[in-house]
Symmetry: C2
Subunit: 315 residues, 2 copies
C-alpha cells in the first residue's frame, strides 16, 4: 500500500517568502528557486499571480519566472487566485497553475472575500480560459479544520472534491492551513479520498504549528499518498499562531523519508546546505531541525577527554 | 493492535533539568514534580542518585523525594547508576528504580566508563540488593543508533534484552539518546520486541533532535507500545547537537494522542499552563509548539477588520 517514491514539492518561494517581513529581492528568489531545482525537488511553487497592490512582495512574478533556470524533471507551478492571474500566468511557461479555495465558509470569506461557490465559479472561468494549456491544481485550505469554525466535516470536503472533479480538474491539495490536523484524521481522510477518487493526483500540505507535521506526513504515506507540500527551512506560517512553526520543513521531511527507505530524487546534502543559508536571507532563525543537528548518520569523534562536556549523561 | 490508553512518563525533573546551566532550587524541582503529579502523568522520573560530585545538580535527590506530595496513581521513579545509588534510593519510598546502560560499546565507555557487560554485572548486584522491594526498569541508551558507531544492530539490542530478562527484570526502556531513530526502524524494532518478550513492560524514549520525535511516537503506537518517556516543554537534549530540540515534548505528545482519540488521564490545560512557565524557570526559550500556538481546537474571533493582518493568505 505504501508508495516507494515520494514527491516533495517545495512551496518556500511562494508560501514561505510571502509572509516574511523583510523584502526579498527578485534575484534572491531566483537563486532560491535555482538551488531547489538543482537539489531535485519534484515541484516548486515559484510565485503568486495575485494583485501587486494586495501582495506587493509577489509583484515580480513574471521577472522571477523569466530569470530562473528550468531543470528538466522539475515542475514549476504558481499560485493563481483568479482569471486575471491566470492570464498573466499563461504567458510564463508554467507546468501547473495552483488555484485556491477554502473548505470553511468563514475562512473563505475572511481570507478570499468569496464563498466556496464563488471560488468554484471562478475556477470554471479559469478552466475555460486555460483549456488544456497547463494542468490545474486546486488547493483546498482549512480542509482539516478552521480557526473560526473548528473541525470541518470530511463530507463537506468530499462534496468539494466532487464539484472540482466535475470541472475536469484532476489535481487537488488538501491543506492543513493552521496546523490542526492529527495523524488519525489524516489517515482516515486520505484513505477515503484515495478510495473515492482513485485517479486524483492528491497532495497533502501540512503546517507544523502544533508539532504534528512529520507525524501527519507519516500518516499520509501510510494511506498511500506520495505527494507532499513542504517548505525549505520550514518557512511560512500563519499569523494566527505567532511564534509557532510554519509549513513542514522540506529538509526534515526528506531526511525522515530517506531514513525510512523511500526515494525522493533529492540531494539531501545540497538541500541542507541551502537551508543553512536561509536565516541570512530572511533575517531570523528558522525551524528546521536537521540543518541544526546534522543528519542521523552523522558521526562524532570519540570523546577522549572532557567526558562531561561531550557526553549525554544517562540516559 | 493499537492501545486505547497511553502512559505518558515525564522525565523533565531528571533528564530535562540535569542539562540546564542555571541552578534549579530544590523547592522549584518539588513544585515542578507536584504540578506534573496534579496534571495526571502516569510516571515521573524525579531525580538521579548519581554521585553529587559527578552531577552536583542532582545532589538534592533525598530532599526532593521528601518534599514532594505523592498523588495516588502516579508512579515516582528515580535514576540509579550503581549499587551505592540503589542503597540511597531504597530509603526514599520510590515506585521504580531506573537503571541505565548503553547498547553501544563506544557510547557506554564514553558516557558510563563501563562496558555493557560491566553494566549487566552491576545490575545483578543491584537486583540482589533490592530484591522485591521496588520494581527495576532498565533504560538502554543508543538503542536505535550511536553518535560514534552509527546504526546499532537490532540483534545486539535483543541480546541485551535476553540478558536483562535473565536477571528477572521485566521493564525496559529503549532510548533514542541522540534522536537518530526513524519511524520505520521504530515500528520494526517495537514489533519484534513485543513479539519476542510479550510480558515486558516496554517504554520508548525519543528525542526530537531531527524533528522525528512525534512521528516515532506514532510508529511506536502503531506497533502497540503504550508507554512513552516525554519531557515537559521538551526540556533535555544532548550536547552532540547544540541548538537542536531535546526530549519529545510532553504536552505536544499528549495533545496529539488526545486529538487521535487516545486517553492518557492527563489534564492538558494544566500541563500547558505549567509548560508556559518553563522559560521563566530555566531562563531560555523552550521547544514545545502547543504551548505557543494553543491546542488545535482553539477558536479565533471572526476577523471583521484588518483582513491582511489576520488572514493566512492563500493557501
Amino acid at each position: 500500500m505504501s508508495p516507494r517514491h515520494i514527491h516533495i514539492q517545495d512551496v518556500a518561494p511562494r508560501d514561505g517568502l510571502q509572509i516574511e517581513p523583510r523584502p526579498i529581492a527578485t534575484r534572491e528568489k531566483i537563486e532560491l528557486i535555482n538551488a531547489l531545482s538543482r537539489a531535485g525537488l519534484a515541484k516548486i511553487e515559484t510565485t503568486s499571480f495575485v494583485s501587486p497592490r494586495a501582495v506587493p512582495s509577489m509583484a515580480d512574478a513574471e521577472a522571477v519566472l523569466t530569470g530562473i533556470d528550468r531543470v528538466p524533471g522539475v515542475e514549476y507551478a504558481a499560485l493563481v487566485p483568479n482569471s486575471r492571474g491566470a492570464e498573466r500566468a499563461l504567458a510564463c511557461d508554467l507546468d501547473e497553475l495552483n488555484l485556491v479555495m477554502s473548505a470553511s465558509r468563514t475562512h473563505s470569506q475572511a481570507n478570499l472575500r468569496m464563498t466556496p461557490e464563488d471560488s468554484l465559479s471562478e475556477f470554471a472561468k479559469i478552466a475555460a480560459l486555460v483549456r488544456d494549456q497547463v494542468p490545474l491544481n486546486v488547493s483546498i485550505s482549512t480542509a482539516f479544520g478552521c480557526p473560526f469554525e473548528g473541525r470541518i466535516a470530511a463530507a463537506d470536503v468530499f462534496s468539494l472534491l466532487d464539484r472540482i472533479a466535475a470541472l475536469g480538474m484532476e489535481r487537488v491539495t488538501l491543506c492543513d492551513t493552521t496546523g490542526v490536523a492529527n495523524p488519525a484524521q489524516v489517515l482516515s481522510m486520505s484513505q477515503s479520498v484515495r478510495q473515492q477518487w482513485p485517479s486524483l493526483r492528491l497532495t497533502l500540505h501540512f503546517h507544523d504549528t502544533r508539532g504534528m507535521g512529520l507525524a501527519n506526513v507519516l500518516a499520509g504515506i501510510a494511506a498511500g499518498v506520495d505527494r507532499f507540500d513542504t517548505s525549505l527551512a520550514g518557512l511560512g506560517g500563519c499569523p494566527f499562531a505567532p511564534g509557532a512553526s510554519g509549513n513542514v520543513c522540506t529538509e526534515d521531511v526528506v531526511h525522515m523519508v530517506h531514513a525510512m527507505g523511500f526515494t525522493t530524487g533529492i540531494d539531501l546534502a545540497a538541500l541542507l546546505q541551502r537551508a543553512q543559508a536561509m536565516p541570512a536571507l530572511v533575517g531570523h532563525d528558522v525551524a528546521g531541525q536537521v540543518a541544526k543537528a546534522g543528519p542521523a548518520d552523522r558521526r562524532y569523534p570519540w570523546p577522549a577527554t572532557e567526558r562531561s562536556s561531550t557526553s549525554c549523561k544517562p540516559a
